[in-house]
Amino acid sequence: MSLEEQKQVPENWEPTILAFCCNWCTYAGADLAGLNRMKYPENVRILRVPCSSRVNPQFILRAFQKGVDGVLVAGCHPGDCHYVSGNYFTRRRFLLMQRFLEYNGIDPRRFQARWISGAEAGKFRDTMLQLCEEIKELGPNRKLREVK
C-alpha cells in the first residue's frame, strides 16, 4: 500500500486506541472517572495489566501491526508504584521506545505514556479526550500494519 493510498481517510472513520492501564492506579482512576460519570469518547479500549512494567514494547509493535491507531501506556506516578519500582523501569523502557518508534517513522503522538494515579479521574478523562482528538487528527495508522 503506497503512501498516497494511505492518506485517504474513510469518512466516518473512528480511531482504535489501545490503553495498557496498570491495575492499581490508572485502572482505578478509570473506574473513578466512571463513578463520577465523566464522559470521554468511545475509541479507547483498556487492557488491564498488573503493573505498567508488565507492558512489553513488543506488545506495542503487535498493536500497530494489528491496525491500532494509537497506544497509551499508563501507570502510577513514580514513587507510588504498588510494586515499589515498576514504573521506574517503564519510564526507562518507554522513553527509549518512543524515540525509537519516532525514528522508524511512527508519529510520536501515536504512542504515549502517562502517570495517572487512582485518584486522578479528571486527568484520566482529559488524557482520553486529548488522545482521541490527536489520533483523529493524525488519521488512520497504516505504518507497520499487516495487510490482510
Binding site: R91, R92, F100
Partner: protein, 283 residues
C-alpha cells in the same frame, strides 16, 4: 602485521605446550583472502594461525559452543572481540576464569577487495579493554567523531520519509537470521522468533514481519550492543542495521548517561536499573 603474527604463533605454541589452554580460537587461511575462525588444539598446528588485515570475523560467540569446557580456552581478542567476551561474562554465559584472552591491538581490517571495513572505520576501541595477555604495543585510539552522524541525518527526515526509508530496508531482508547468529548480545537459548507457541513473530517473509523482527531484535540488544558492526558486515543483502542500534545507543546515552557496552565489566546495562532522577516526560 606479520611480526605480530609471529608473536601470536609463538605465544600460542607456548600456551598450548604448557597446557595453560586446551585450545586456541584464532583466524586461519580460507579461500581467497578469507580468514575464517580456526580452532588450534595441537602446538604444532599454530602455524595455521594468521594475523593480517583480513582477520574480520568476531570470535567471541564461539565460546557459547563450549559452555562447560574442561580446560581454559585461549581466544585472540581485538577490541570488539574483547568487548564481546566481557558482555558474555556479564550475561553469565561464559565464566571469566574459563577464558584466556590474548589481546591484539588492531588497526582496522579490510574486505576482500582491500577496502577498509565500515565497522573498523567506526571502531571506538582498537585496543582490547580487557585481556590476560597483550601482544605488540597499544595502537592510538582514533575514536569516531561522526559516530551518530548518520543517525542524526535520518532523524531530520519527516516521519513518512523515515518510514519509507526503513520499509525499503526491511523489504530486502530475507530472514536468514545471520545478524542474530553472529551477534554476541544475542545469546538466548531459544530466540523469540523460534517460539511458534507464543507466536511473537510469524514465519512469513514480508515487509511487515521483517520490520517487526528487525525492530524487536534491535530493541532487545539496545543496551547490550557493543557496536562491533558484525550484523551489518554479514548481512547478505547489506541492511544498515547499525543505524538502528546506534539510534538506541544515542538515546540511551542522552537519556540515562553515557554508557558503552562491554568496556567495563562492572557497569551494568542501563535498562536493568533505574535512578529516581531519570528524565520525566509523562507527568
Amino acid at each position: 602485521m606479520s611480526q605480530m603474527q609471529e608473536e601470536l604463533r609463538q605465544k600460542a605454541k607456548e600456551l598450548l605446550e604448557k597446557g595453560e589452554v586446551r585450545y586456541i580460537i584464532g583466524w586461519g587461511k580460507g579461500r581467497f583472502h578469507h580468514r575464517p575462525p580456526i580452532f588450534i588444539y595441537q602446538a604444532e598446528d599454530v602455524d595455521k594461525l594468521v594475523w593480517d588485515e583480513y582477520c574480520v570475523a568476531n570470535l567471541g560467540k564461539y565460546l557459547l559452543d563450549d559452555k562447560f569446557p574442561e580446560g581454559k580456552i585461549g581466544i585472540c581478542v581485538r577490541g570488539c572481540d574483547s568487548r564481546a567476551v566481557v558482555r558474555l561474562v556479564q550475561d553469565k554465559q561464559v565464566k571469566r576464569e574459563d577464558v584466556c584472552l590474548i589481546g591484539l591491538p588492531c588497526t582496522g581490517k579490510v574486505d576482500q577487495e582491500g577496502r577498509e571495513l565500515v565497522k573498523c572505520r567506526d571502531c571506538m576501541h582498537r585496543n582490547p579493554p580487557v585481556y590476560d595477555i597483550v601482544l605488540g604495543e597499544p595502537v592510538e585510539e582514533k575514536g569516531n567523531p561522526d559516530r551518530f552522524k548518520r543517525v542524526e541525518e535520518l532523524e531530520k527526515l519527516s516521519s513518512d520519509e523515515k518510514y519509507e526509508y526503513w520499509s525499503n530496508v526491511f523489504d530486502k531482508c530475507i530472514r536468514c537470521y545471520a545478524c542474530r547468529n553472529v551477534c554476541p548480545a544475542c545469546n538466548c537459548r531459544e530466540c523469540f522468533v523460534d517460539q511458534y507457541r507464543v507466536g511473537w513473530q510469524g514465519k512469513q517473509k514480508n515487509c511487515m514481519q521483517n520490520q517487526i523482527f528487525g525492530l524487536t531484535r534491535a530493541y532487545h540488544i539496545a543496551d547490550r550492543c557493543i557496536e562491533c558492526g558484525e550484523c551489518e558486515r554479514v548481512c547478505p543483502v547489506g541492511l544498515p542495521l547499525m543505524e538502528l542500534n546506534r539510534k538506541l545507543i544515542k538515546d540511551l546515552n542522552s537519556l540515562f548517561g553515557p554508557y558503552e557496552a562491554g568496556v567495563n565489566p562492572d557497569v551494568k546495562p542501563p535498562l536493568g536499573e533505574y535512578r529516581l532522577e531519570d528524565p520525566e516526560e509523562y507527568m
